[in-house]
């Protein structure tokens, strides 16, 4: 079998069939001024040895920062991936499976998706999860479409609570372009949590949903989230919570706080940061919203196996809108990320319930230790004093010092946090958001502290 389409003989055959002498004649209708009339500037073909040599030269230019020296999060985190996750997920049966919904040949893959959904329900406190999505940003955009659909197009307003990652907000705006949404941003007030009064200034009878991020994009936890969700419900709007599932090891789940839809990024469960992908989105909701949930839902059913009662896994629901009534679909993607969902299952299965809680506690205690030591450096202060955090927090630098410190750390082989987007609060121009996980030990934290101290 050849993988090169259109051999010269086939081209001649096709041209003859339509009665054209050559390709040039076929392209006659394109104005001459618009034609390139030369070959593309692409290097010539190289031999394998030559090419490997060139790529190696390029590779050594890369600056490699080991996970232990990555103190940055913002959605993707340097969590440890147990060896068993790589070993099992690389098995051919899983690695090559594609569109695995035929129950008679795909019991393994269907069971894995079912278990992924079960884990997501446990972590989010929701009743229903779909089979996964592309990434946190697109699942949030899907969640917004769900909220609009659940109000049957009667409500157009969407409110973002303070400190929902601006990049996620951009995905919602661009992915849902044409949905005629009325996007509103509740501005942060420095030093204050969102009060019910401030939320109610924007919350009206046209509001389909309010989006909260928990922990927020600076790492902080709003103590009053449950109360705010209550306010949202009072206006019969939905509460969407963008959630970091690792935090479920220590915190109340968004479901316990009253969320209607919970979505986010599950890279933290057994997947690598990569170069920012591939990622693993998750999307979960209350049973009431199952009809507007995009994607697929795998279920466990009772069946007979070899004359004995047994259990099997099948695709139980996929709202048919996504195929035959696309204008009414609640996703522009409707696909899943089965291999990464498998890795999340293997991860959760290998660390176990107690292990997961211990890991989350370790992330938190490392972050507490790091904050304490960083604050001992003169000039650094909490961006928000007296706020709780999970494993991520934001520190303010003396004016003009932030970028110098960040660059110095980079030259020492460390990623010293991320520079928060300052469009909502200009003060963030002098801040860094740091994240810590179980991969960091005291030495790593001290190395970061020593390095930053040199610039302050």
């Amino acid at each position: 079998m050849t993988f090169i389409p259109h051999t010269p003989a086939q081209r001649a055959q096709m041209l003859a069939a339509i009665g054209v002498d050559d390709i040039e004649q076929l392209l006659d209708t394109i104005p001459a001024a618009l034609r390139l009339r030369r070959d593309l500037a692409v290097p010539a073909a190289q031999g394998e040895v030559e090419l490997a040599g060139e790529l190696q030269e390029l590779l050594v230019v890369n600056q490699f920062i080991p996970p232990r020296r990555v103190f940055a999060g913002g959605g993707l985190y340097p969590h440890h991936v147990p060896a068993v996750v790589d070993e099992l997920s690389h098995r051919g049966e899983f690695y090559t499976a594609y569109t695995p919904y035929q129950p008679e040949i795909s019991q393994g893959m269907l069971q894995c998706i079912y278990e992924f959904q079960s884990y997501i329900c446990l972590l989010t406190g929701m009743e229903i999860s779909n089979a996964s999505g592309y990434d946190g940003g697109t699942t949030l955009a899907d969640a917004v479409q769900m909220a609009l659909a659940s109000h049957r197009g009667q409500r157009r307003r969407l409110i973002f609570a303070p400190h929902v990652d601006p990049q996620y907000r951009e995905v919602v705006a661009t992915y849902n372009i044409g949905m005629e949404m009325d996007l509103q941003q509740l501005a942060p007030v420095e030093g204050e949590f969102t009060s019910a009064d401030r939320l109610n200034e924007l919350l009206d009878d046209d509001t389909a949903a309010v989006v909260f991020q928990y922990p927020d994009c600076l790492g902080y936890l709003d103590d009053e989230l449950e109360m705010l969700i209550g306010e949202v419900h009072r206006r019969e709007a939905l509460a969407i919570v963008l959630f970091y599932p690792f935090a479920a090891g220590l915190l109340k789940t968004p479901g316990e706080l009253g969320a209607d839809i919970v979505c986010g990024e599950a890279q933290c469960l057994g997947n690598y940061m990569g170069f920012g992908g591939p990622l693993l989105g998750f999307l979960a909701c209350t049973a009431k919203l199952v009809r507007v949930l995009p994607g697929r839902l795998i279920g466990r059913t009772i069946c007979e196996r070899d004359g004995q009662p047994g259990a099997g896994f099948v695709m139980t629901l996929q709202a048919r809108e996504q195929h035959i009534r696309r204008a009414k679909a609640t996703s522009n993607i409707c696909s899943n990320e089965a291999l990464l969902a498998l890795r999340a299952c293997l991860y959760m299965g290998s660390v176990g319930r107690a292990g997961f809680t211990q890991l989350a506690a370790l992330c938190h205690s490392n972050a507490c230790l790091a904050r304490e030591r960083l604050l001992q450096i003169g000039g650094l202060s909490d961006f928000y004093a007296n706020r709780q955090f999970f494993n991520e927090f934001t520190l303010k630098f003396p004016p003009g010092k932030r970028d110098l410190a960040y660059d110095h750390a980079l030259s020492c082989g460390m990623l010293a946090g991320i520079k928060p987007d300052a469009r909502d609060l200009p003060d963030l121009d002098d801040a860094l958001t740091f994240a810590f996980t179980e991969v960091h030990c005291e030495d790593d934290i001290q190395a970061l502290v020593n390095c930053l101290k040199e610039e302050l």
Partner: protein, 122 residues
């Protein structure tokens, strides 16, 4: 004695001692096959002529149910949540979708009566 008014899109409005009920016709039910899910609006919702007021999903298709005149929902048939098959069993009786109030009952004169609808079926 109930009176039925029909639309070309196979909805009916049943007048029953001054109360009005909206549903899909026996013919529509037969065409759709086994009904699996019905999406109903909230009581109190108002619809303008031509709005989609309900969605009926069967094993074969999804059908939208139109408000062919301005109406307000008084109550919905809550039994359909657990027993959507009521529509298959008794589309024009127990399988009604909405009890409604009409903005202008005079608009019913634009609807077909039983004879005209039976004629359309042929």
């Amino acid at each position: 004695m109930a009176t039925f008014y029909y639309t070309k899109t196979h909805e009916y409005i049943r007048e029953d001692n001054g109360a009005y009920f909206l549903g899909i016709t026996e013919h529509a039910q037969q065409e759709l096959g086994d009904i699996t899910y019905v999406e109903l609006p909230a009581a109190g919702t108002e619809f303008a002529k031509g709005d989609v007021c309900c969605t009926v999903e069967s094993v074969k298709a999804v059908a939208e149910v139109y408000a062919e005149l301005a109406l307000k929902v008084v109550t919905v048939n809550e039994r359909l949540e657990d027993e959507p098959e009521l529509i298959n069993q008794d589309a024009q009786g127990e399988g009604w979708l909405l009890q409604i109030e009409l903005a202008d009952a005079g608009e019913l004169s634009d609807f077909m009566d039983q004879t005209a609808y039976d004629e359309l079926e042929k």
